[in-house]
Assembly symmetry: C2
Homo-oligomer: 200 residues x 2
């Protein structure tokens, strides 16, 4: 009984994740989720009361990918440059395995009726980076730039290509695997920019 229960719930969550990531909240259909899970609509509402409920569940499960946990990285006493280089590699590798996440998160928080979802984002990450920058800047280890703008730039260079993925795939005539390779190469390219910007 309980075994079967968990199995169905797991199937629903997997299907919901796939459909919501592909279509976003508004365009996603409960029927599509039911079909993909191999069950019917009524059972969806038995496990999760409403579409809103199910979506919130998936969203909260996925935001950690958009703003990854970085605690251990900040506790290693690395420089701002080293920490940011490590972040770039970790972030793009993570997004290469979850290419739909940036569009999913951004389309959600841009909906007029879902702006409260912004508060679910773990945005303390930005503050940590800024503190580390000022620490290195005060001892002359990095060139003077605006740290908030720099962090926005790094996240932009990592995340935006996944949002513009269909365009980039079309321009470069790349398939999914080739796009992954482009992004893999991009890690060292962004790290190179950072090196020049910070004068390392």
């Amino acid at each position: 009984m309980k075994q079967q229960n968990s199995q169905t719930e797991e199937k629903i969550l997997e299907a919901a994740e796939q459909i919501f990531l592909r279509d976003g909240y508004g365009d996603a259909r409960m029927q599509d989720i039911a079909d993909l899970a191999g069950i019917n609509k009524a059972l969806l509402h038995y496990y999760f009361r409403s579409k809103d409920n199910l979506f919130e569940y998936i969203f909260e499960k996925k935001i950690s990918v958009m703003f990854p946990k970085m605690e251990e990285m900040f506790n290693q006493n690395l420089s701002f440059y080293e920490t940011t280089c490590a972040f770039i590699e970790k972030y793009i590798t993570l997004l290469n395995d979850n290419p739909y996440i940036p569009m999913f998160v951004m389309s959600t928080i841009n909906r007029a009726d879902r702006q409260d979802f912004i508060k679910k984002l773990p945005i303390g990450l930005i503050q940590k980076f800024a503190e580390l920058y000022f620490k290195d800047f005060s001892v002359g280890k990095v060139r003077e730039v605006n740290p908030a703008q720099l962090i926005i730039s790094v996240m932009s260079m990592c995340a935006f290509p996944f949002i513009a993925r269909p365009v980039i795939k079309e321009i470069t005539k790349a398939d999914d695997e080739q796009f992954k390779a482009i992004m893999q190469f991009r890690i060292s390219e962004i790290q190179l920019y950072l090196k020049y910007i910070l004068n390392q």
Copy 2:
């Protein structure tokens, strides 16, 4: 008669633009467009046969903002660095007046049923930039980087903050005007990065 005709059509287009930009295709409602235009739904279908038709009209009108016309800029015989600096200023100024455009375009071309809209984008721009880079690189005017990756980076740094606008506004506690100011300041910051990256 014809005067009235044009006036109504203009009101519809203005309303449709506003609603589609805010909600995207899937979440936009013909009723909302009709209400905003001060007419009824039936009249919408009299002027534009379907929602698809109306949307396509608006989309084609707006893509020039996402990929701005740059012909005159390329004909001024400026260096790659100068041209890209000018692009950054022009692009962010343009997006500051049209902050919803990046999300609108990206959410459209990420829809499974709207991928043919990618072909409407004037992506020749990228090629022009790459050619100009190689011209300057061959005479040692710029440092060696991957030009395609650099152009993606510049566009990312310009466009992504508008897509993440609700997040940035929340983190910085900025209103619409303050966000505009942040982006205005961002122009010189991105230009500074470019200077360091290209060793100018």
